[in-house]
Every structure is written in C-alpha cells, then in structure tokens.
C-alpha cells in the first residue's frame, strides 16, 4: 500500500531522515518510535506531502507521490493528524469535520450528515456545536482524528495523538484506534508513550538520528540492545523484568 525506498530529507547540513525504507501493507498498524529529534515527524511530513524528499521514493499504491502536494495525497487516500493540533479554531467542531467530508461529498448537506456520524464515532457528539478553539486538549486531539477520518482515508498517519492526555482520555483514544483498525483502516502511529504503543502496534520501527535502527514486533523491539541503548534505557528493561 505504502512503500518508502531509501527516503532522505535534509535541512541545510542536517540530515533529518536518512535512507529510510519501509513497507506498509493493507491492514497494518505500524508504530514509529524514537527519541525527540529522531526524524519521526519529518518522515510523516515527507509521506504526506509537506516536504519533498531529497532522495528516495514514496510509493502510494504503486504511484510515486514524492513531491505531490498534501491535498493530492489526501485525495489518493492518505491523510494525517498533526502533533501540534491545528483545529479550525473559529469554526464549530461539526464544521471542522464537515470540511474534511466535503472532500469526497460535494453536497454540503451530505457532508454534514457524514460529519455527524464521524463525530459520534469519535465520541465528540456532545461538542458538535462548540467552537474548536474552546475544546480542552484531549478533545482537540480527537477532533484531529475525526477531521482526518471524515476524508475517508485508507491509510491514516497519527502523529502523537496520545501526548498530553490523562489516563481516561488515553484509554478512550486507544480503544478508538483499535476499533478503526478492526474496521479495516491501515494506520501508522507515532507515539512517545511506550506502554500504549506496545499494546497497540503489530510492528514497530525505531528511528534514531534519522535512521532506522530496528524494526519488528513490540516484544522483539524491547529486547533489541541498540534500541535499549538509543532510546528505552536500562530502566525500561528493568521495569519490564
């Protein structure tokens, strides 16, 4: 479904992403972890069209989309959420989500109905009329997901949708992601919260200084000495033991 072939992205002298290759198949739930500055969000920006890769190819359903703008990639079935949420602050929650639905439903009334359904799915029903700006952070993260879902993606990239949430909110969003995955959505998830990632992802890619240092099942990753060295630290291993 999505294939990265030796993707590289540089900013001046800094190589933020170096030679990253990966393969996402229909129905995958891939996790990407790594310390701050490892290049996770940069990689998302390349995949979703915000950055043009300096080298390598991004293939979406066999088509090279490297350098295509985000709106084209969205219409090909891939969209994303933003780590630093970007709600349409002055618009209602319903309008926010409806703007996503308008991409494939040109009629406003139909898009509004679709938006109501998506909002209910994401547990935002009671807040439909609220201004997006007035939402607390936990709900804004949900709004990011809802708005992206309204475009009916086949592949969804979630950038730290769990960061800053309390345990209850966290449980809710994990359940939501699981349900979406069970319904057939393919996902790539960037997350800092290891515990949640271990429960969620089938396969994890570890980035460090812009390079892939490990890839595998969660239990393999936690035992990988390079990963422990670079990211998890000994404490994590001890805590697991």
């Amino acid at each position: 479904m999505l294939t990265l072939e030796r993707v590289t992205k540089r900013f001046g002298g800094l190589t933020a992403v170096r030679d990253v290759s990966l393969e996402v198949r229909e129905g995958d739930l891939l996790g990407i972890i790594g310390p701050n500055g490892a290049g996770k969000t940069t990689l998302f920006n390349v995949i979703s069209g915000y950055y043009r890769p300096d080298a390598g190819r991004v293939l979406l359903a066999g088509r090279d989309v490297g350098g295509e703008p985000p709106h084209v990639i969205c219409r090909l079935g891939l969209t994303r959420t933003f780590q630093i949420v970007k709600p349409f602050g002055n618009l209602s929650v319903l309008d926010n989500v409806m703007i996503g639905a308008l991409t494939h439903l040109p009629r406003v009334a139909a898009a509004r109905d679709e938006a109501r359904r998506v909002i209910d799915t994401c547990g935002l029903g009671p807040y439909a009329a609220a201004r997006a700006r007035a939402l607390p952070v936990g709900l804004r993260k949900r709004l990011e997901v809802a708005r992206a879902l309204a475009t009916r993606p086949r592949l969804l990239l979630l950038d730290e949708v769990m960061a800053g949430l309390n345990p209850t909110e966290l449980g809710g969003i994990v359940a939501l992601i699981r349900r979406l995955h069970a319904e057939g959505l393919t996902l790539i998830v960037i997350e800092h919260i290891m515990a949640a990632m271990m429960r969620l992802a089938r396969r994890i890619v570890v980035l460090h200084h812009g390079e892939t240092i490990a890839e595998g099942r969660p239990d393999e990753i936690t035992r990988d000495p390079r990963v422990i060295d670079a990211y998890l630290g000994e404490e994590f291993v001890l805590a697991e033991a």
């Binding site: 915000y50 703007i99 708005r147």
Partner: protein, 325 residues
C-alpha cells in the same frame, strides 16, 4: 450556522427599505447619500471576500478600484465607447492583477502581504499620474455625461437601483461563501492552511481564486463609482485612504460576515457626512474638527466593539436570551 439567520432578516429589511426610498424621497442630497452608502458597502463587501473570508488582509484594493474607474473613464472619454465595455475591460485587467496579488499571498504572510498590496496600488498611482499622454496624468479625467443606460448617464433614482442591485448581488456572494462547499473550504484555508491541505483542499489555488474574485468585484464598483461621480483623479482612486476605507468599513461592521460591510458603510458614511456638515470650518472656525471627532469615534468603536457591529448584535442577543432564561 443558525446564528446568522437574524442577520439575513436584517439584510432583507435594509435592502427592502432602500428599494422603497425613491418612491418617497426626491431629495437629490439624500438619494446621493443612499447611493454612496450602497457603493461603499459593495466595495467593502468585495474587500471582505479577500480580507474577511479568505483572511488575506489587503491594503491595496484601491488598485482594483482605480483599474475599474480608469478603464471606464478612458473608454468613454478617449474612445467614445460604452462604459460597460470599460467595466468588462476593468474586470479582465483586475483578474490578471488580482491573480498576481493572490500569488503574492502564497509567498508573503500577514503584514508583508499587506505592505506588498500597498506597493502595488502605489505603482499604479505613479503610472496613472505620470502617463500624461494617455491618462491625462494628475489632471484626472472628466467622464462625459451622455444620458442613457448603455452610456450610464443615469438619474439619481436609476443609480439607487443600480447600486442596490450590485449591493444585493455582493451580499449574495457573501451568503454563498457562508453556505457552499467552496466557502467552507475557504474558511478552512483561512483558519489553517496546512490542516486544510491535509483534508484534500488545494489551499493555495483557492486563495488565489478568492483574491481574484475580490479584485474583480472591486473593479466593477470602481467603474460605477467613476461613472456616477463623473471624475477620475489618480490621487484619489489609487489612494491608501481608499484602501483603508474598504477595510475599515468592513472591520467596523463585522469582518467575515455578509451584512458587516454594509452596516459599516452605513455607519461610517453617514457619520462622516453628518460631521462634515455639522462641524464644518465655517460654523466652528476649526476646519479639521470633524476629522478629529470622526477619528475619535473610530478609536472608540475599535476599542469597545472590536468584533464589529454584527458581533455586537450577536453579543446582545446572547445576553438578552440569558436574561430571559
């Protein structure tokens, strides 16, 4: 947005009253005020498409106004053609110029965009005031009055209806922008371009379309204004004062709303006319006093009602519904 419904009724009432004015009023001075309020309102509504709905605050819209005014004035005075042809030429030129400004809006943000629009209108001012052989330079162009619709040589009553027609049409454009797919997508672009892109919206292209539409709408009223007033002076039609006025009317009335530009025009145009008549130099012995009062009034509005008249109305409505509850 159900909150807008009362505003629509206010619009129907206001435009309805204007339509009835010529039936009862024959006073040329009063009709002149009505025509100017409508034209200023339409110009502000045109500005609002870019500045309000697309979030691209331009301070150079006088450029498009001047293009419309000059196209028609030159077409009539120099080539003895219909001002309607001048109107179409003005629209065509403004679409090109608006496209350039729209392109700039994708390169420059906020204050830098606003500054570049000022520069653009100043360049046109220099061209119009220096190209003496063609535009008559700083002397300006008197527009010949030839009675008839095709020549736009109309009486006051006809002008009221023509200006009203444009005003209603432009109000309709605003309603379209608040209810249509394109309008919602544009709102998304205004709020956050990156997020809009992720939702499949070609945000840059949409912004260029909005600015271009706004430019063409401004040009049309520029043509009507020149034909109505009968004189085109480069230092007026390309002035920053004029650009600021479009923005000011809209901000005072309620930016990004359908009715706001018209309410702003109604308030500011009547305030200015009243103050100039009442506190003129002859009566007070102080020539600029009306400008001092006018400026103070504007500062007070911006200080205490920053969301504009439509926002104030919404606020009062919420308060009264709470009081009743």
């Amino acid at each position: 947005m159900p909150a807008l419904a009362p505003g629509r009724w206010v619009a129907v009432a206001l435009f309805g009253i204007v339509a009835l004015v010529p039936a009862g009023v024959r006073d040329a001075y009063l009709l002149d005020s009505v025509i100017l309020i409508l034209l200023w309102g339409a110009l502000s509504a045109a500005w609002n498409v870019a500045g309000g709905y697309a979030g691209q605050v331009s301070l150079g819209h006088a450029a498009f106004f001047g293009i419309g005014a000059y196209s028609a004035a030159l077409m009539t005075a120099r080539f003895q053609q219909s001002p309607w042809l001048g109107l179409m030429l003005g629209v065509a030129l403004s679409i090109v110029a608006g496209g350039v400004i729209g392109y700039l809006s994708n390169r420059l943000r906020g204050p830098y965009f606003a500054l570049s629009t000022i520069a653009f209108s100043q360049v046109l001012l220099i061209v119009a005031s220096r190209w003496r052989g063609f535009t008559a330079g700083s002397e300006g162009i008197p527009v010949p009055f030839r009675p008839g619709f095709w020549t736009l040589g109309l009486g006051h009553v006809a002008w009221v209806y023509l200006a009203l027609g444009v005003a209603v049409l432009y109000y309709g454009v605003a309603i379209w922008l608040e209810t249509s797919r394109v309008g919602y997508q544009l709102a998304g672009v205004r709020e956050d371009e990156d997020a809009a892109e992720a939702l499949g919206i070609a945000s840059r292209r949409l912004k260029v379309y909005a600015v271009t539409l706004s430019a063409a709408m401004t040009s049309v009223v520029g043509t009507f204004w020149a034909q109505y007033v009968g004189f085109v002076d480069p230092f007026y039609v390309f002035s920053i004062d004029l650009s600021v006025r479009f923005a000011l009317n809209t901000i005072i009335g309620g930016i990004g709303t359908g009715l706001g530009p018209f309410l702003g025009s109604l308030l500011i145009t009547s305030l200015e006319t009243y103050l100039r008549a009442t506190f003129s130099g002859m009566k007070t012995g102080f020539a600029g006093i009306y400008l001092v009062i006018y400026g103070t009034a504007l500062i007070l509005v911006v200080r205490f009602v920053p969301e504009g008249l439509t926002g104030l109305a919404a606020r009062l409505r919420v308060r009264s519904s709470r009081a009743h509850a």
